[in-house]
Symmetry: C2
Subunit: 640 residues, 2 copies
């Protein structure tokens, strides 16, 4: 009998002895980090309000109760009873009964009303029908990404349960080593921005944190092939943890499955969906640019299938000696500061991922309050001595000026923007500016992936800034649903019509003018002197965006029909509005550490160019007397 089976037997016995005699436990299993308790008496279980919480705190495990399949009411009988329990205002859009696990997935416009105060409505459902309810939000804006992911996971339920069971046994395996150490190996993203990838290892466990590409430097991928990474086989990784969906962190995660990885990916639910969206786009772009994609969509699906979503603040066992907790990072939807608690009080490491320290319109500022942290691995994108950003108020004022000036001239405002994050921030600024009369009401057209990315945001309001979330939850004043927002979904004809029309604002990808619908918009608008091309995000060296921003006035045009390349002259006004950034600036990074609780003993400054990481490292050392490092790629640091 394996040690895990022995453990489960012991748990079975303990749970039985803790429960009232009339509640029988038919089986006890691990599924991923959860302990699943099967009972023939789900209704009785539900009636004893606090039983699960008591068990969980006694066993120090996350516990899910499921009815034994034999004890289940038939779906056709249960459906009506379930609908009777849930208030009509909840807006249930789908009920899906899974007889294999006794779960009923309830998709509703207002999940809160399905849950009830402290979960009371959920318990009522079980008391009525015995089934275990699980609630998901009906996307307020239809999102093909969200529905594709949900449908795919529904299809793959059986395999997914196998994966979860295997992962569960792996997490709860017996510890084998009596050695003690904690190490971090840098596989990318050191003294550079891009290809984030780190290995956190103990004698017991090896965890890969992020696995991104390097934008603008295809081929510069993380050092996955060195012995300490996948040299000994991808199956030697215990877990992958993803801080957020940006491609410089997520692009190469699917390749792991090509290399034979078959374990879990821990991340937030919105990151899972955004990751799928961005990875598929990444494959698209590679194909369009005639590069061989490093993996195909099959591996993107594998990545999604292997994802175990965590909520901010959940403390989750991911290995016998490692507990993971994700916290809001304030950077993009679902972005997380990931905190690793190693051993039983042995050591704690936090990876900042990308962070924004102050609150933005979209997100609360990054969390920097932890039970313990000895070492912090910290982004340094704007860590340089002089990397101070315009503050958001001034940035918004300037943007409104540009819009008003352009409007007064009868022109259009064309804003290249990243689909995820920057665009939604812009939408919130524009919606409020129009509502408050700071700028005139006019259509705001959303082109490229922006609409889809926005739809994903509205599916996960819990991950947005608290007052924004409240607006979406309680007041039905979802700003993303404002009338002025128009999704460009009819292609060139629609663009032509808009180009021929009056003043408007166009938000479109790609953010650095390296391809996508912005190219078409430039073709339509280049000759309009009254219109304005407005940059609101960082333009990397070597991109067309950077060239146009610095005064270049030629736009290369690839005539789709004839296939001939030509150029047109840019006559538009070109403006740059600084101060919209998903990254903390120098002051924000310093503040993150200054107000961090507790103050870390060591900080590794990564995710910044050489001078930024070294500047930040030296500033943190001098101001706070912390041991700081600006690692190179391919180094290994040992703590303990």
């Amino acid at each position: 009998m394996s040690s895990v089976d022995r453990q489960l037997d012991d748990l079975h016995e303990t749970i039985t002895s803790e429960l009232p005699a009339d509640i029988t436990v038919s089986d006890v299993k691990y599924e991923g980090p959860e302990l699943v308790v099967y009972t023939r008496d789900p209704k009785k279980f539900a009636r004893q309000g606090d039983l699960i919480r008591q068990l969980a705190s006694k066993l120090r495990k996350r516990i899910t109760v499921r009815p034994d399949p034999d004890a289940l009411e038939r779906p056709r009988d249960a459906r009506e009873k379930v609908m009777n329990v849930i208030p009509d205002e909840a807006g249930v859009t789908d009920l899906d009964f899974h007889e294999d696990t006794g779960e009923v997935v309830i998709e509703a416009e207002k999940p809160g009303m399905v849950i009830g105060r402290h979960g009371s409505t959920l318990r009522d459902i079980t008391k009525e029908v015995g089934w275990t309810p699980e609630v998901v939000r009906t996307p307020p804006i239809e999102s093909s990404t969200v529905s594709n992911v949900r449908n795919f996971l529904k299809q793959e339920r059986d395999e997914r349960r196998d994966i979860l069971e295997r992962v569960g046994r792996q997490i709860h395996r017996e510890e084998m080593s009596d050695d003690e150490y904690v190490r971090i190996t840098t596989l990318g993203c050191c003294r550079e921005v891009g290809r984030a990838a780190f290995i956190l290892s103990t004698p017991e466990t090896r965890i890969l944190i992020d696995c991104g590409d390097k934008p603008g430097a295809e081929g510069e991928v993380p050092y996955l092939q060195v012995p300490e990474a996948l040299g000994a086989g991808a199956q030697n990784l215990d877990a992958v943890v993803l801080t957020h969906a940006h491609l410089d962190h997520s692009a190469l995660i699917p390749i792991l499955f090509k290399y034979g990885y078959d374990g879990p990916i821990y991340t937030t639910e919105p990151t899972r969906d955004l990751m799928g969206l961005l990875q598929l786009d990444y494959l698209d772009v590679a194909a369009k640019e005639g590069r061989a994609p490093p993996y195909d969509s099959e591996q993107v699906r594998e990545a999604i299938k292997h994802t175990i979503p965590l909520e901010y603040g959940d403390v989750t066992d991911i290995a016998p000696d490692v507990k993971l907790t994700m916290h809001n990072a304030g950077h993009i939807l679902g972005s997380a500061v990931t905190h690793f608690h190693i051993g039983d009080g042995l050591y704690n490491v936090a990876f900042s991922g990308d962070i924004h320290y102050d609150d933005t319109r979209l997100f609360n500022g990054a969390v920097n309050d932890f039970p313990r942290v000895e070492t912090l691995v910290m982004e340094s994108t704007y860590g340089g001595r002089n990397d101070y950003q315009t503050d958001q108020d001034d940035a918004e004022k300037r943007l409104k000026e540009v819009i008003n000036d352009t409007y007064d001239r009868g022109g259009k405002v064309l804003i290249p923007a990243f689909a995820v994050g920057r665009s939604q921030e812009m939408m919130l600024v524009l919606e409020e500016a129009m509502r408050s009369g700071d700028i005139p009401e006019m259509p705001v057209h959303l082109d490229g992936m922006i609409w889809e990315a926005t739809a994903i945001h509205t599916t996960y309001p819990e991950y947005l800034r608290d007052d924004l979330r409240d607006r979406i939850f309680h007041e039905d004043k979802n700003p993303f649903l404002a009338d002025q927002f128009n999704h460009i979904d009819a292609g060139e004809d629609e663009r032509q019509e808009i180009a021929d029309g009056g003043p408007c604002i166009i938000l479109t990808t790609s953010g650095m003018v390296t391809g996508g619908p912005i190219m078409s918009w430039l073709r339509h608008l280049a000759s309009e002197e009254e219109s304005t091309l407005t940059f609101v995000g960082y333009q990397a060296q070597g991109t067309l965006g950077r060239r146009l921003q610095s005064g270049w006035d030629e736009v290369p045009i690839n005539d789709g029909e004839s296939g001939r390349a030509s150029k047109i002259n840019l006559k538009m006004d070109v403006e740059t509005v600084d101060g919209f950034s998903g990254h903390a600036d120098r002051q924000g990074l310093m503040n993150f550490v200054k107000t961090m609780n507790p103050r870390p003993e060591k900080v590794l400054c990564v995710h910044g160019d050489e001078s930024s990481t070294q500047d930040l490292s030296s500033a943190l050392y001098h101001e706070h007397n912390i041991r700081t490092f600006a690692p190179k790629n391919l180094e290994t640091f040992r703590f303990l």
Copy 2:
């Protein structure tokens, strides 16, 4: 056709075109780092004195010429002709003809006379018979180790040639990576003394430097199992380099062959022999102490078979992007500072191994003059703030006092000493002291492995201090052959007789009184108040030597016959004579770096306890403004 075959074809062509038309080249092969040129005209080749040197410098390769087997004179005809060429005074003791390679191995008491001025006699031999001569020294003192190694290698010639050919092709393989980095991974010996093991890696090549055990801490072995070491398989190592034979550097080399390693070990010839001796003793001790040995003698033989001996100063290709040069380290016979030249002028790393900076009686001081060195990995055994040693003159004076006092009382001097290094140094001190009349003539008995280790020293006089070597070479005044030295080879009876006799000196293992014949000597001499137990080397914490040194007066005795354990009272005088050490002291370590040419940019201080490595690291930083580190085990440093 593989790239190596293409390379060899090109070389074949170039060599043919460089040679006079009447010399034909029948084949060109790599054997280890050497390029072997087979010719049907060996005699003509030999007649053109400088041809090989010219070819070598043109091709930048080490070149060996061998006769095509078809072109060979028969051994029975050749034997007499060879003997006629060599002067009688050379003292040839064996001629061994190898028809497979056309080599004749000549064992002689005076190899120099077989070689002749600038190799003239060797060339004469080839001119006469066509065979390629190779010369080895007849050990002046019979050494079973040396003759066992030589016989074993003779037996295994075929397999050894296969190994060399495979290694040769591996060394000269095409470089695959266009990435550039140099890394050092610490697998042991950091903030501790023992289990030396480092990996030097480039994108192309992975080299293991040393693989020792930790004396007094069985089971604390180098971290070979981590992914960056052997995790991806031992076959992923390209080469093993051994700095010297001490077990804290060599003990676990044979285990690599158990793990599937099948590549070369680069070290000096004396280190190869001493390594074999010490490893077999290591297995013996493990067996006696009832521990399961980590490998058996079969793997020790594998290690010897895979050794490619290098001479000090030879610049040797050991990988497509790495050249290795070994230099005298002054520590023990054959010990080397190993210098790695990486890429074509890309980077240079030196590993000090264990060093002695000043000259000793046995060895010249460590070499610290290199074409280039950017990073030095340096031992720190006596790197602590206060680790200054008595100087050698004072130490010798004190030793002579102890001997004279004991002699005057009619007692015996019992000196526990390490077989390799310290014992031979003692022998030289004693021989000179008697010759110059500083102490009376009396027998010096050598027990345990000391005699055998001494025999190995006399086999390799080229590795000894220059004036000592000259005495052995030119004057036949080999001090190790002095009459007073007596090899204890008749066991307990002989010891009893000596114990019953008059004043004498006894040098015996083990050096820290942890076992071996010293235990028997203590039983014989413990009660003699007139005799002296004299410590001349470091006694580690926890050893019986340390306890006796600090005043303990009970010696546990295991009565061989009855098997009963008992104790006897130590009545002997106990003296400690400091100042004999194979290691540089704090001053020596500082001087090694201070006078090093060129000064390294970075120094990693290893092979010392935590405070020694940190003290030395901080002193080097403050005095020379070098970037210094006191690494932990399991870290990886990247240079470049």
